[in-house]
Symmetry: C2
Subunit: 130 residues, 2 copies
DNA sequence: ATAAATGCAAAGGGTTTGCAAAGGC
DNA sequence: GCCTTTGCAAACCCTTTGCATTTAT
């Protein structure tokens, strides 16, 4: 398991902030930064525990905060299929910009946002799905 | 407490759909449709119970669904101040349209969405806050 | 009479927290 | 050694659900 360059950057960030570089933090960063699909905190914890590098869910949440603060991890929008439950993640610059504009138009300095869109996915639309 | 015209429309909707016109439904509709600020289900239940027209939270949730289905109530976006906790609600057509477009571009038939923007409100920005 | 709505309390999911124990620096 | 992180379980928030009871029609 070669250290991804992003993980190196996380280490650098931790050092810079004088935060302990722990095995858990690195393990969680590895999994989170490498995966392209959606992972729940539970999944991350389970996956790592199965791989012999046990971490608790609380630690996953705490590390996600740190990764977000470092800028190495970014929030995604979520698309949830109301029929089969599938969750798809994506990023959209325009949406991001629009939330900033909308927040500012109401006097808020935007920090972050959370968007979940519910709908029916392609598969389920054509009679398929669970 | 004069029956707001919107409540009349809710009654019409219920009749049209052959749904029972209950005291709870009307009470909840009154509070929800009259208020301009954000009310949690708990708040609605508490407020009505205090006013001598007790309703359970479950019923509030169920009635919200009905009101949404009727089109008399619409979802709002939320702006949450990270500093003082204030919650501001608003609607934005453009945002709404964009979520539809974005969902469709990924093969999803959009049904609804939930957006929460976190930031710092005007008051808290200028040293104010809590 | 019948079908639906209600209320309660339990269950659920996703996340946070308190505190003793472990571990980085 | 000091200070932070970790892990666990409990606490939390918000919402849904199961089921016996009440109610509109």
């Amino acid at each position: 398991m070669p250290d991804h360059p992003v993980v190196e950057r996380f280490i650098a960030y931790l050092r810079e902030k004088n935060l302990p570089v722990t095995a858990q933090r690195l393990a969680i960063a590895e999994v989170l930064l490498a995966s392209d699909r959606h992972l729940s905190a539970e999944e991350v914890a389970r996956e790592l525990t199965a791989a012999g590098r046990p971490v608790g869910t609380a630690t996953v949440y705490r590390t996600i905060d740190t990764l977000l603060a470092s800028g190495l991890l970014v929030h995604h929008e979520h698309l949830v299929c109301a029929h089969c439950g599938r969750v798809e993640e994506f990023r959209d610059e325009r949406l991001e910009r629009m939330t900033t504009i909308v927040a500012e138009s109401r006097g808020f300095a935007r920090q972050r946002h959370r968007l979940v869109i519910h709908g029916v996915c392609r598969d389920c639309q054509r009679g398929g799905g669970r």
